[in-house]
């Protein structure tokens, strides 16, 4: 009977179905059935002589695809888990068999588990620190709506702080934030009974707590401070309330010598912005040029940080029009609060994450190598199993299962190591770097560990599993191609050696660059000698509660200095407003007499400091020209001592001594300062930046209300510290002296970089160790396989040294390739650490060459040792043992 021609759409569908079948079902299922299934599909498509139309065909395809996916998948599952009733019941026996094999081979298992424990543990440790610092959301309601608002100074391309009127203007005119609060931080001295505590305090209006949406656990927040006067209230943190007895709402507490009333205690864990012990009302300083405030805001519903930035920038530009010269090229900058807080930590932490990831890869390569070596030794066992009917898939599965167990054990062992390491990491970090968040192994970190362990299992186990499967199939076909198999294994081994060496070289190059940066940083001249000098920061207030007048401060300072000099054992005593290690900083624009008058924003920005006589000598700042400050400078002509950079900038080709400058407008009311001395620069803007010019005035001659006493003496003398503190305390009622701290403790010689360098160095060292072990193992095995040949050659008279040389040359081949690749990787990735380097290029040839050479030497040693051992062995014993 004739049939109508099948429509094109049916023919295409059938062809497509045939192809899909081949993918959806395992070959073993399709044998003898695929044709039937295709026929059945065609029958349905052309059901009863009536071919389906497009809609009918489409609905058939929907059902067909579901059928292919569901049942094809199920057949594949059945195929992979081997013959047996249920898909997962085979898993249990696989695990048991793998575990038995691992326990039987204890030394391999121990080394493999230890290696992976190291790799997984290191990754977990670093990740938990990253989690605590970068990932964990801030502990406030809806934390992702909180933003940090700062002023962006166009000319210096950096963030700048606000003044109170700035923030007030912004808050009134803006429309994208539902709250904006300024704040500033400083260290204060808190007295409770006989105890003086040095605490971080944050001055902020009550609006701050509204923006953050956190209420006190007991009591309430204070009200807004009255204009131009400090509000004498405080809110304390839970931590401080716990450590100082009696601090409850209503209690009195002395802060910097002034009595405040506690209005509330915050819930535990709250310490905005970072480690704050108490909050006090912010003074509403109406001076528009008195900066120093940061600001935090909460985005209004629907607003974005970008829109807020645009809105606030417009307001800043409007301010420039109202007050020309104060906001030249200024904009606003609005950033998510967490990003703002973690800006310095983020690049270093990410670098560390990358470093440990590389260490893990090296660890996995090691375990792969170990597994391959072990598999080669168990080849006969494998052949027997194949002969008894084990399928290729099953052999591969067992190998993978062993690797999974090793990885799981490694993760298990690695977790306590990670917990310890994470805490050690957090302790090593410079203060405030990691935002003081407690580092713990929370679910996210554990999930990460699981992921890493799984990745390690796959990475370390896939290659051996595939090799095992291939070996099984070769054995099954009784192939005589052992030679080509060996060659392929040899290539594999060389590849692994090259890979490990490359990764180790890359890490070591990074570590080397960072180490040299640290050395460079150590060599940067501080400009002063911390020596045995100790510092005592003191805040002076008028006992009535207001600001002490300049004259009062000067009187206090000099009285205290006299008393200090009278303490037996003290060899030097002085006072300074801004110690060389930083603290309260006052920078303002100066104008040199006789120079052409420029608009204020274009004038030179210099740092103004106050010091007593004896300061430069006490701290070791060299006097270059002229004289230092003396007691008599408190009165008479206004004189000052300037730093070299200051002198060089204002008077480039002339002698600065005798010249005058002012920080106000150069009109007839200006106060001119005459330069009487030039001293050396102090690195006051960080170790790696050019120092800012500094001018030192006598106390009493400017708004210098903070004092740090600099004292040097015979600190071994018992009671000296107590006497020193008493000397200062006795100079004025109610002055609190919290601590006498060695100046050297405050010196930050690149703490951030040191932290990064230390850790990268540790991990690079780990990588080197692992790579050495790995290369040694891989090459050692290769040499061991040739023991017979080597033994023969020695027996036939070959010189052992010559054989060792040959072996080393062979081993160095892949190591050299690895070094070259490693250097290339290091050069390519140099940009990642560029921002951490100082005084050295990311492509420094000396470092690269040294590292490559080091690895080659290590590889040569790792090759020579087993080779030498093999040639030393008694040839007859070797021949007999084969």
């Amino acid at each position: 009977m004739s049939r109508a021609p099948t429509p094109l759409r049916i023919r295409l569908s059938v062809a497509l179905y045939r192809r899909l079948l081949r993918v959806a079902f395992p070959p073993s299922f399709l044998e003898g059935r695929s044709q039937e299934m295709v026929e059945m599909f065609r029958d349905r498509a052309t059901g009863g002589g009536r071919p389906r139309g497009a809609p009918g065909l489409a609905s058939l395809w929907v059902r067909t695809l579901a059928d292919l996916a569901r049942h094809g998948g199920a057949e594949w599952m059945g195929e992979l888990t081997g013959p047996g009733p249920a898909p997962f019941s085979g898993l249990g026996s696989d695990v048991r068999q793998a575990a038995r094999a691992l326990v039987a081979d204890r030394s391999f298992t121990a080394v493999a588990v230890a290696t992976l424990a190291l790799g997984v543990g290191a990754n977990t440790a670093v990740f938990s620190v990253v989690d605590a610092t970068l990932l964990r959301p801030l502990p406030y309601p809806e934390p992702d709506r909180l933003v940090a608002v700062s002023r962006w100074d166009g000319p210096s391309a950096a963030r700048a702080s606000f003044s109170y009127p700035d923030v007030a203007d912004l808050a009134t005119a803006q429309s994208t934030l539902e709250g904006l609060a300024p704040y500033s931080e400083r260290w204060v001295t808190v007295q409770a009974g006989e105890v003086d505590l040095s605490l971080k305090a944050t001055a902020a209006p009550p609006e701050l707590f509204r923006v953050l949406r956190v209420a006190p656990a007991s009591g309430r927040v204070y009200d807004e401070a009255p204009p131009e006067r400090p509000g004498l209230f405080a809110v304390v943190s839970a931590r401080v309330a716990a450590s100082l007895p009696g601090l409850a709402p209503g209690a009195a507490v002395r802060i910097d010598g002034t009595t405040h009333t506690v209005t509330g205690v915050m819930p535990s864990g709250f310490d905005f912005p970072d480690g704050t012990g108490l909050w006090i009302p912010l003074e509403r300083d109406s001076q528009r040029n008195s900066h120093g405030l940061a600001a935090v805001g909460r985005l209004a519903p629907g607003a974005t940080a970008a829109r807020a930035e645009g809105d606030l920038s417009r307001i800043v530009q409007a301010l420039e029009e109202r007050y020309p010269g104060r906001y030249v090229q200024n904009r606003a900058r609005v950033e998510p609060l967490r990003e703002y807080f973690t800006e310095t930590a983020r690049p270093i932490l990410l670098l560390l994450l990358g470093t440990v990831a590389v260490v893990l890869v090296i660890a996995c390569v090691n375990v792969t190598a170990l597994t391959l070596v072990r598999a080669a030794a168990r080849r006969d066992d494998l052949h027997v199993r194949v002969a008894l009917g084990a399928s290729r898939a099953r052999i591969g599965r067992l190998a993978l299962m062993e690797s999974v167990l090793v990885a799981a054990a490694g993760a298990f062992v690695g977790l306590p190591v990670a917990a310890w390491a994470a805490r050690a990491l957090a302790a090593l970090a410079p203060a405030g770097f990691l935002r003081d968040q407690p580092v713990r192994l929370d679910p996210r970190v554990l999930g990460f560990t699981l992921l890493v362990a799984a990745g390690a299992a796959v990475l370390a186990g896939l290659l051996p599993a595939l090799c095992a499967a291939r070996t099984a199939s070769l054995a099954a076909t009784a192939s005589r191609s052992r030679v080509s198999h060996d060659r392929r294994t040899g290539l594999l081994r060389s590849g692994l050696v090259a890979g490990e060496v490359a990764l180790a070289v890359m890490l070591l190059a990074g570590a080397g660059l960072l180490a040299r940066t640290l050395v460079n940083l150590q060599r940067v001249p501080l400009g002063y000698e911390p020596g045995t000098v100790r510092a005592m920061p003191v805040a002076v207030r008028d006992p009535g509660g207001g600001e002490a007048s300049n004259a009062d401060v000067a009187i206090f300072v000099n009285r205290a200095r006299e008393r200090l000099l009278g303490v037996p054992g003290v060899t030097a005593a002085a006072a300074v407003f801004t110690p060389p290690t930083g603290g309260i900083i006052w920078r303002t624009r100066v104008h040199a007499e006789g120079a052409p008058v420029q608009p204020r924003p274009d004038r030179y920005l210099a740092q103004f400091n106050a010091a007593t006589a004896g300061y430069f000598e006490a701290v070791g700042i060299p006097l270059v020209r002229g004289r230092a400050l003396v007691d008599g400078d408190r009165e008479g002509t206004m004189v000052g001592v300037v730093s070299e950079t200051f002198a060089r900038t204002l008077w480039p080709d002339q002698e600065a001594l005798g010249r005058r400058f002012t920080n106000g407008e150069p009109d007839q009311d200006a106060t001119w300062v005459t330069v009487v001395g030039v001293v050396g620069d102090v690195r006051n803007d960080g170790l790696t930046d050019e120092p800012v010019g500094e001018a030192y005035l006598p106390y009493g001659r400017g708004p210098f209300a903070n004092v740090t006493f600099i004292v040097d003496g015979n600190w071994d003398l018992p009671g000296l510290t107590a006497n020193v503190r008493e000397a200062v305390r006795g100079a004025q009622d109610g002055v609190a002296v919290p601590a006498v701290v060695p100046l050297s403790q405050w010196v930050d010689r690149g703490g951030r970089t040191r932290f990064g360098a230390l850790l990268v160095g540790i991990f690079a060292g780990l990588a080197l160790l692992l790579a050495t072990v790995g290369v040694y193992g891989l090459v050692g095995y290769a040499v061991a396989r040739r023991r017979r040949e080597l033994g023969l050659r020695v027996a036939l008279g070959a010189r052992p040294a010559g054989l060792v040389r040959i072996a080393v040359r062979e081993g160095l081949g892949p190591a050299t390739l690895g070094s070259v690749v490693g250097i290339a990787l290091a050069l390519a990735g140099g940009r990642a650490i560029e921002h951490l380097l100082y005084g050295i290029d990311a492509t420094d040839p000396l470092t690269m060459a040294s590292v490559a050479l080091l690895l080659l030497c290590v590889a040569a040693a790792a090759t020579a040792a087993p080779a030498a051992r093999a040639t030393r062995a008694d040839p007859m014993a070797v021949l007999r043992s084969e």
């Binding site: 059935r33 026929e39 059945m40």
Partner: protein
Amino acid sequence: MSDASDTVESALPLSWVEFHVLLALASEPLHGYGIMLDTEERTGGRVTLEPGNLYRALKRMQERGMVERAERLPEPALENERRRYYCITELGRRVAAAETRRMEELVEMSHARRLADPEGA
């Protein structure tokens, strides 16, 4: 003959696909499409056996011996067609009978507990 009854017992309970296949093949050998059509007709369109589903069941039942590839085609005229026919085996019939009895017992119990018709008294 405990051996044989053990084999029958171990095949129970049948999956619904397997039972429909046995029902379809009870009267005559069929090929895959035929089994599907028969089942659709018998259940009034409620049950459609997709090829993947059907052939997996056929493979299982072949391995257990309840179904086998037909040695002879039902109609010599169909010899030219490239189709494979399946027919039920003796074991298959016994398994179908045992399954039917099992379900009958369950239905009886359901009636006794008045679960069969929750609406009625």
